[in-house]
């Protein structure tokens, strides 16, 4: 009954979304102010109602998962009674249909949030909600017509097939909602861009860039956290400590992130300096198009297999239609409006605008590189050029030299004035930062030794870190006598410095973890000792342990030296009964300076294969991502407080 109600409510949500998308358009055509206000009123109420309805439908599906209602096809295919409650709930979005419902829920949530909290009540706000309404229509239709989560099975199966064991993980339960909140959040950028392009000669009074910024910041923070969480999950779950594979699935998420990062910065210029507006509008459309194509092209499988469309032509074509439709409408409106858009205001190359433009050029190049690397094999194959692979070595080869000038220029941006900047007043401090970076790099070269590229990257990352510190010092200078009362300091003083320092910390983590990783592989008998990164370990043997829905063989290793001397590591190999599959659970000692990462492998005769890695400073990678998200949050907080 609840399931049927959920299905019905979803149909109702589609009709409400249609009202949100169409009714205000008619009302806005009327010239009287009364109708114009009515347009906004209708759009706002429809957006709120749509959200409530989708939330109810989502609740109905969650209920079916929690109750293990195997009469539902998705529950049967993705759940099992012998599964912890949290993974029954996470199972709601652990499948195609449910995750699309989550996607629709987030689309509706952004629309409702804007309807409820958008501060300026004008025609622009109505147009944003109309675009959001059309997005709701498209995705609800996709859900109902091709991916109905409420489809029943007859006869009702006795038991479910379970959720893939490696997805039964807290990080992966949170990963999709965060990622979707990021992807979908960029739909707000798209909606704002379209609302700006359909206004009266791009009404300056509407100040779309200013109104867009908190929403793209929100999306960016979520996407940053979502990608970082996915990377951390891959690190500990996949059994050897890889954190990024340049896999098409990952590339699909990093493209909107790179474009979205560029958008954050160009929207700042558009807001503060009334320039780069045409580029920002285009970038807003592109960022959302990348969010869409990333999610959907991977989902339909086109990136890994060209035949995926044939497997499910209906879904694939629907997806393609949504992607092409929204992107084309965006580009056409942009093309039509471009001649009327105000020309950009003047600035010097050496100015904050100039440096932010350079940031955009680098990030755009990075985005194009990922895009090209991902689709080049498909295009070449389609043109009859043969099958090639584009993997991690290609992306590393392009990104390493690209990162160096990017990181070198980056700290200068926030230190320069708008319009026309001067470096002379900062000269002594910049020299100090450069000298500090050079000194630490020299120390690294003397103790570790590294290739020229690694040394250059290392130095650039340190320069970026010290530059961010310099930036924060400059921003806090007016408050230097009141630093103790840190809660009273302006949040804006921390936003850019923290985010930029986060990037530096991440770069340092990536360099250390990839360059100085150590690894041992041994076939061990109990009592055997091994040595890695100056630490002695002893293998004590195996025992069987049982979890809630799995059985495992667990090895024990003991630290014989170092700060953890006497402590144990318990790597496991788990066997999941219901899903008939196996996972590797690494045992990781997480120190800030490095992780010891132990994995128990297969039997080798009467011995047992053990693999132990030392990943130096690997935590810096995700710490850096957290700092970036924190910087974004400070920026968001400043913005919300100011406009309150």
């Amino acid at each position: 009954m609840i399931v049927e109600l959920g299905h019905f409510i979803l149909v109702l949500a589609l009709s409400v979304a249609l009202v949100q998308a169409i009714a205000p358009l008619y009302l806005m055509r009327a010239s009287r102010d009364l109708s114009r206000n009515a347009a906004l009123g209708v759009a706002q109420r429809a957006a709120l109602l749509q959200f409530v309805l989708v939330l109810l439908a989502f609740g109905a599906l969650t209920y079916a998962f929690v109750r293990s209602d195997f009469s539902l096809a998705v529950v049967f295919a993705n759940s099992h009674v012998a599964k912890p409650l949290i993974y029954k709930i996470a199972g709601v979005w652990g499948n195609h249909e449910g995750s699309m419902l989550l996607w629709v829920l987030i689309v509706a949530a952004y629309g409702a949030a804007y309807a409820r909290f958008g501060r300026v009540q004008d025609g622009f706000a109505a147009r944003v909600l109309i675009v959001q309404g059309w997005l709701g229509v498209a995705f609800l239709a996709f859900l109902l017509f091709t991916s109905n989560p409420f489809a029943r099975l007859i006869p009702v199966p006795f038991s479910g097939q379970g959720l893939t064991p490696i997805l039964q993980d807290p990080a992966l339960a949170a990963h999709p909602p965060l990622l979707y909140a990021g992807y979908v959040g960029f739909s707000m950028a798209y909606a704002f861009a379209l609302a700006a392009l359909t206004g009266r000669a791009e009404d300056a009074a509407e100040n779309w860039a200013k109104r867009m910024r908190p929403w793209i910041l929100t999306a960016w923070i979520f996407l940053t956290l979502g990608i970082a969480l996915g990377s951390y999950w891959a690190y500990y779950e996949l059994g050897w400590g890889g954190f990024w594979f340049w896999d098409p699935v990952e590339n699909a998420s990093i493209m909107p992130w790179l474009a979205g990062t560029a958008l954050l910065h160009s929207a700042l210029v558009a807001e503060k300096r009334d320039t780069l507006k045409r580029w920002t509008l285009l970038l807003a459309i592109i960022t959302f198009a990348l969010s869409l194509s990333g999610t959907f092209l991977v989902r339909s499988g086109v990136l890994t297999s060209v035949h995926a469309f044939a497997n499910d032509p209906e879904r694939g074509l629907f997806i393609l239609a949504i992607l092409a439709g929204f992107t084309l409408v965006g580009f056409i409106l942009y093309g039509l409006r471009l001649p009327q858009l105000a020309p950009d205001r003047a600035f010097q190359p050496v100015s904050r605008e100039g440096l932010l433009l350079a940031n955009n050029i680098f990030l755009a190049t990075a985005t194009v590189t990922v895009f090209l690397g991902t689709i080049y094999p498909l295009i070449l194959d389609a043109l009859g050029g043969g099958k090639i692979s584009v993997g991690a070595p290609y992306f590393n080869a392009v990104f390493a030299p690209l990162t160096i000038p990017f990181a070198l220029l980056l700290p200068l941006g926030p230190l320069l004035n708008w319009r026309q900047g001067h470096l002379q007043p900062l000269q002594s401090r910049l020299v100090l930062a450069a000298a500090a970076a050079a000194l630490v790099t020299l120390g690294m070269v003397l103790t570790r030794g590294a290739s020229v590229m690694v040394v250059a990257l290392f130095a650039a990352a340190l320069w970026l870190l010290f530059g961010a510190g310099l930036d924060m010092a400059q921003r806090l200078a007016p408050y230097r006598h009141r630093l103790v009362r840190f809660w009273a300091l302006p949040a804006g003083a921390f936003s850019a410095p923290l985010a930029h320092a986060g990037l530096a910390v991440m770069l340092l983590g990536i360099l250390a973890a990839t360059q100085w990783r150590e690894e041992i592989v041994v076939a061990a008998t109990p009592g055997q000792q091994m040595e890695i990164a100056g630490i002695s370990l002893r293998y004590d043997g195996l025992r069987d342990v049982d979890g809630p829905n799995y059985s495992a063989e667990q090895a024990r290793l003991t630290y014989l030296s170092g700060p953890h001397s006497g402590a144990h590591l318990f790597p496991e190999r788990r066997f999941y009964e219901a899903e008939r599959s196996q996972t590797t659970e690494a045992a990781i000692t997480t120190d800030l300076t490095g992780h010891l990462y132990a994995v128990v492998g297969e039997p080798s005769g009467d011995k047992r294969v053990l693999r132990v890695w030392y990943h130096p400073y690997v935590a810096f990678i995700w710490l850096g991502a957290l700092l970036m998200a924190l910087g974004g949050s400070f920026a968001l907080a400043t913005r919300l407080r100011r406009s309150a």
Partner: protein, 134 residues
């Protein structure tokens, strides 16, 4: 999303491949073998290098790479031998050749084009730079 993750799981399954008996005694040669292995694609498992894969074919290739290294072959000769057997699909780092010029050159071209357009834009819209007569 989970489908993405499952797909991802299939691509990068939770195993690490190198067996204890495979490694070469010569550390320098073994380091070269590892580096080379990470650039060679396992042909039966999507998107894994032979260094990461536990497929029998990947193991064969790892042994092959090490045998050729011990015989004194250069990295390029080994890559060429692998390509001869399995085609260019086996290389994660595409060769620089006419059919991949666009792949390797585009990032640089985009950067140069962006730099040129950006510089022109910043310069053009600045009053001082437009008065070139002086």
């Amino acid at each position: 999303m989970a489908r993405l993750a499952i797909l991802f799981f299939l691509l990068v399954s939770p195993t690490h491949a190198l067996d204890p008996d495979e490694a070469l005694a010569d550390a320098a040669l073994e380091a070269r073998a590892r580096a080379l292995s990470q650039e060679l694609r396992c042909m039966v498992c999507q998107n894994q290098s032979i260094d990461d894969s536990d497929a029998p074919l990947a193991k064969d290739l790892r042994v092959f790479v090490r045998a050729r290294l011990q015989a004194g072959d250069s990295d390029d000769a080994i890559r060429a031998a692998v390509v001869e057997r399995y085609g260019e699909f086996a290389l994660f780092r595409p060769r620089i050749a006419p059919h991949t010029y666009a792949l390797w050159a585009t990032p640089l071209l985009i950067l140069l084009l962006g730099g040129y357009l950006g510089w022109r834009m910043a310069g053009k819209s600045t009053p001082q730079n437009t008065s070139t007569d002086s």
